[in-house]
């Protein structure tokens, strides 16, 4: 199988994962519990993107890393500012500073 065949298949799989439920879910049949559960999607999915990147080095759980230290700075910035730009800036700058200074 050529790499372009792989690319097209993965492109289709990715698009279908975005399209199928978006286009065909019948929201009228959603129960109150389903609606309640769906309201938690952002706060359930985003930690699943954040935590492996911060605390996992491949499959090992690690606490004493540059990422965790920079994450703490960003966490403090997020908690106090509640501002995306401030959090992103503090997180990235502190991470880059820690990696290149320490």
């Amino acid at each position: 199988m050529s790499i372009w065949t792989y690319t097209i298949i993965i492109g289709i799989l990715t698009f279908l994962s975005r399209y199928v439920v978006t286009a065909y879910a019948n929201t009228k049949t959603y129960s109150q519990i389903t609606k309640k559960v769906l309201s938690y999607v952002p706060s359930a999915v985003f930690p699943s993107l954040i935590f492996p990147a911060v605390f996992y080095n491949n499959t090992n759980f690690e606490i004493y890393t540059y990422e965790v230290l920079a994450f703490l700075f960003a966490l403090i910035a997020a908690y106090f500012s509640k501002n995306i730009l401030v959090t992103v800036t503090v997180g990235l700058l502190s991470y880059i500073a820690i990696v290149f200074i320490i």
């Binding site: 792989y6 879910a25 999915v45 985003f46 699943s48 935590f51 994450f71 966490l75």
Partner: protein, 215 residues
């Protein structure tokens, strides 16, 4: 005629709001995009392939899994399975978004689904929740989605053009992780929301472990 001008302005205004809202989330996206191109070329793929995957797949995480597993010599079903597992969160995004765009045409659903990324979901979900009665609220999603798409493609080009400008010492995933921290700051106390993390982590580990056993 006045109504038509007013409608057009309203669409434009919501579209621009989508661009404005998603811009801060694109700082890490741009770094990720540059890093992706650099990694592609370092792994021996062509610049056309780096750009082609971004244009066709348009999903940073899936693209990264794809090139890493392909280079490691993984069998096709492991590559496709890993990509599907990585994309499962899109089903949840779709379930949330479907209620906002269920009355739109098929073309709109196809276009908006193509642009449904983490960043687009993060900002447009907030907007649509507050403005779901607005007839043109989906233009916000179009604005945010197209912005992420454009920045992703541009940063890929910059990565190819400038070469290794992002240090290997920096973690690629951390750039993206930091993006979402501010978005969940208000929910930091709700620990039970973290359950999905375990599910996704175990599913991903299963595919990686199974692949390693095969090779």
């Amino acid at each position: 005629m006045y109504q038509s001008i007013s409608t057009s302005m309203k669409r434009r205004q919501i579209f621009l709001q989508g661009i404005k809202d998603v811009l801060p989330l694109n700082i890490p996206v741009a770094l990720f995009g540059m890093f992706y191109s650099v990694l592609c070329i370092e792994l021996g793929f062509s610049a056309y392939f780096a750009m082609g995957t971004s244009l066709i797949i348009f999903a940073g995480g899936s693209q990264l899994i794809f090139i890493t597993l392909l280079t490691a010599g993984a069998v096709p079903w492991v590559i496709f399975g890993s990509v599907i597992m990585n994309n499962t969160r899109n089903f949840l995004y779709g379930a949330v978004f479907s209620k906002y765009i269920e009355k739109k045409s098929r073309i709109w659903k196809i276009v908006l689904s193509f642009f449904l990324t983490d960043q687009c979901f993060a900002v447009s979900n907030n907007y649509l929740k507050k403005n779901y009665k607005s007839k043109f609220a989906h233009y916000h999603m179009l604005g945010s989605g197209m912005t992420v798409w454009a920045i992703w493609q541009l940063s890929n080009l910059v990565g190819i053009w400038l070469g290794d400008i992002v240090s290997d010492q920096l973690s690629l995933n951390f750039f993206v992780a930091i993006t979402f921290l501010a978005l969940i700051a208000k929910d930091l106390g709700k620990l039970y929301h973290f359950l999905l993390f375990y599910y996704q982590q175990h599913a991903r580990s299963f595919f990686i472990t199974y692949h390693l056993k095969l090779t």
